[in-house]
């Protein structure tokens, strides 16, 4: 699980172009949106692309996406349970 979280962090840093940020800079339990990492609606779309491309997970319900994309922890839990690749 820790390995998956680390991998997700690295993928997020790359996909969202956080120059100079390291995986350790992201707190796994901190919110990704709002006060945490401060992501916005375009980032949501980028994260959905990331999940589909890397893990074969396709999310279409916005409410469900919002729940899954709360933090690295929630993302990792969902990916571990639903990944198809």
């Amino acid at each position: 699980m820790e390995q998956l979280k680390e991998q997700l962090k690295r993928q997020i840093i790359e996909a969202l172009n956080f120059e100079g940020m390291k995986p350790d800079d992201i707190d796994s339990s901190a919110p990704l949106f709002g006060d945490g990492l401060g992501l916005d609606s375009i980032d949501v779309l980028e994260l959905l692309v990331l999940l589909e491309k890397n893990y074969g997970i396709k999310l279409s319900d916005p409410a469900e996406s919002k729940r899954i994309l709360q933090s690295i922890d929630t993302m990792a839990d969902y990916v571990a349970a639903h990944r198809t690749k």
Binding site: G20, L45, V49
Partner: protein
């Protein structure tokens, strides 16, 4: 009516955000003059910068510098010209479509591919709700933006404007236009390829920092040379001027033998062959919005009252500089005339 050019800022092949280009310009490389980037940390927060390509960062840095130098916080208008917009993003989206098909595409490149992303993101940075417009029309993109700015002043709607010209040279764009014979090849057909990032602040008031006045702008498209000459004469006439009333003509000649002759023919037919001339594309390279460098040069010449040898063209003696005419053209097809005065 006159609008005053109060500040200019550039990122080009010259030292970025500095005025050294005027006194000690570097010669441009033979085939392309890629821009020298500035340090963008002081202008854009890391959060804002992460979605910005090179061209957007240049736009932010030049815009914020020009505004600061003119002591304008929020302009009454932001009007930019760009021939191709943020090509880096368009290319990335296109190549993703080619490589992975029409699924799982990342939206960020698409959002940043529209031409207006530059002017609207500068508005976003400034939280500026003012008039905002973008022109994308080949070699008169910047000149259209300047004309729009001037008309906003004339209509009394604004008292300050941020105008700019932006184009980037990606390897893809360079290759494509290379294949079409735009850049220096055998027998000196073609120009040196360049990039543009120029911002300027215009004001209805002659502030202390004002460099010169912008008197008028006109475009003339798709007409044979004799008609272009007539249009130029009409332009001067509209401004109450005789050809002899201009002290210097700055042309957009770029070293391409196929098109430079039309500048010579046009200037000779309207002004005779002894008019002092200057040019600038041998320093900054050619791009759709390179005309912005010409305006920048004209403004400095009027401010300092001198023209240094790197920018001189021809042997005609220069006197004092009161009025300068700029002539630029895209492949002898789209012409623009800009009148600057002290």
């Amino acid at each position: 009516m006159t609008a005053y050019i109060c500040s200019t800022a550039q990122i080009s092949s010259q030292e970025p955000l500095s005025a050294k280009w005027f006194t000690a310009p570097r010669e441009c490389a033979e085939r392309c003059c890629f821009s020298v980037d500035a340090q963008y940390g002081g202008f854009i927060s890391p959060m804002a910068a992460r979605r910005m390509g090179k061209l957007l960062k240049r736009a932010a840095a030049t815009s914020l510098t020009a505004l600061r130098e003119a002591s304008v916080e929020i302009p009454d208008a932001i009007i930019f010209g760009t021939g191709l917009g943020c090509m880096e993003n368009s290319e990335k989206f296109l190549s993703a479509m080619k490589e992975q098909g029409e699924e799982c595409l990342s939206p960020t490149y698409f959002i940043n591919s529209t031409h207006n992303t530059i002017a609207s993101q500068i508005a976003g940075l400034l939280k500026c709700h003012s008039y905002n417009n973008t022109y994308a029309h080949l070699g008169v993109s910047f000149e259209s933006a300047l004309l729009d700015s001037l008309m906003q002043f004339e209509a009394g709607r604004i008292s300050t404007a941020l105008a700019g010209g932006y184009d980037e040279l990606t390897p893809g764009v360079f290759d494509l236009y290379e294949k079409a014979g735009f850049w220096h090849g055998v027998g000196k057909q073609g120009a040196a390829a360049g990039e543009t990032a120029v911002a300027m602040v215009l004001s209805s008031e002659k502030t202390d920092s004002a460099k010169c006045g912008l008197e008028d702008v006109a475009l003339c498209c798709g007409r044979p040379l004799p008609e272009v000459a007539l249009a130029l004469e009409k332009f001067l006439d509209r401004n109450g001027l005789h050809p002899s009333d201009t002290d210097l003509v700055i042309t957009g000649r770029n070293g391409d033998v196929r098109y430079d002759e039309s500048y010579t023919a046009l200037v000779d037919s309207v002004f005779g062959n002894s008019k002092p001339q200057a040019c600038y594309k041998h320093v900054f390279g050619e791009s759709f919005t390179a005309g912005a460098y010409g305006v920048m040069l004209g403004a400095e010449v009027l401010k300092h009252g001198r023209l240094l040898s790197p920018y001189r063209f021809g042997t005609a003696e220069t006197g004092t500089f009161e009025r300068i005419l700029l002539i630029n053209s895209y492949r002898s097809r789209d012409w623009s005339f800009i009148l600057l005065a002290k």
